[in-house]
Symmetry: C2
Subunit: 141 residues, 2 copies
DNA sequence: CCCCAAAAAGACTATTTATATCTTTTTAGG
DNA sequence: CCTAAAAAGATATAAATAGTCTTTTTGGGG
């Protein structure tokens, strides 16, 4: 349960790789894909999504490639994940309580809200700079 | 992302309903299903899983039905969810780091461990007695 | 012993989501 | 105008989800 998809995993790998490069280094999709071990065509789709919302900047044609859209420390893991996976929704009633006519009196409902809050909070507390750094942020795996 | 399946949602509804009944009241599957608005055949499958691990007790034949396997206050939401959805796994590397040869140096890995811990902790902090009570546990939805 | 009620077990189906790949088009540099 | 590279769109396959249906087992009561 609650499993990140391949798409999400690949998205993170790709953008973290970018975050580890100099801010002005334009990277080829093919290079990124090879470096992070992701099917290039799949990563292309993912980076198109990133590009649309400005998480990365893209340049076409000769000498083209990708750059981070903002400074790495200003991009949270939450943004990256939600960009490709959609919002964090432990149960549909957290987004539209009206879907379930039990939501008025349901004691489970607030629990899912709490789960959502906790997960978002963890992911929001991590930025791409930390993720890209060579220093292992956490000793205890 | 991280969405509970119908199966999980139905499972919770069903067992919370049981938890709201007197401890010795044997409930018919058909009654439970009707009360919590779940397809009876689907709920049957779910309760079979519960029964196998002792979360509920079942009785066959005339006068048969279901009882809670233990006192409601001793069953956590985490147990219920994991019984039908499997363990809480935000990313496969949290269970088998060896799957990913990047796990040694990956800074994302510990984040997923943290997410897992937070979610489990929230779900473990809620028991069926609370969920079944008429009092709305949380004012702020 | 026979009938009926109810859960258990297993096979089967349809729909949706995930995981890609392939082809064509657009953009840009030299 | 040729080539490099991303964007867009169509297609394909596999797996998971969300059920249903049928048959079997178990137990109680007449
Ligand atoms: S029953 Fe409660 S938890 Fe389930 S969908 Fe409705 S409001 Fe949400
Ligand atoms: S790259 Fe990191 S987060 Fe992704 S699967 Fe490997 S260890 Fe886990």
């Amino acid at each position: 349960m609650m499993e990140l998809t391949r798409k999400g995993e690949y998205a993170i790998r790709g953008i973290v790789y970018l975050a580890g490069k100099p801010i002005d280094k334009v990277c080829l999709l093919s290079d990124i894909a090879a470096a992070v071990d992701v099917p290039p065509t799949f990563l292309a789709k993912i980076f198109q999504q990133f590009s649309k919302i400005g998480l990365v900047k893209s340049f076409r044609g000769t000498g083209g490639g990708f750059l981070l859209g903002r400074a790495a420390e200003n991009i949270t893991l939450l943004e990256v994940v939600e960009a490709v996976e959609g919002p964090i929704i432990p149960n549909r009633c957290v987004v539209t309580p009206s879907d379930c006519e039990r939501s008025d009196f349901c004691n489970v409902h607030p629990v899912w809200k709490r789960v959502q809050g906790e997960v978002r909070s963890v992911l929001e507390g991590v930025n791409l700079k930390e993720l890209a750094s060579k220093e292992r942020s956490d000793i205890n795996n």
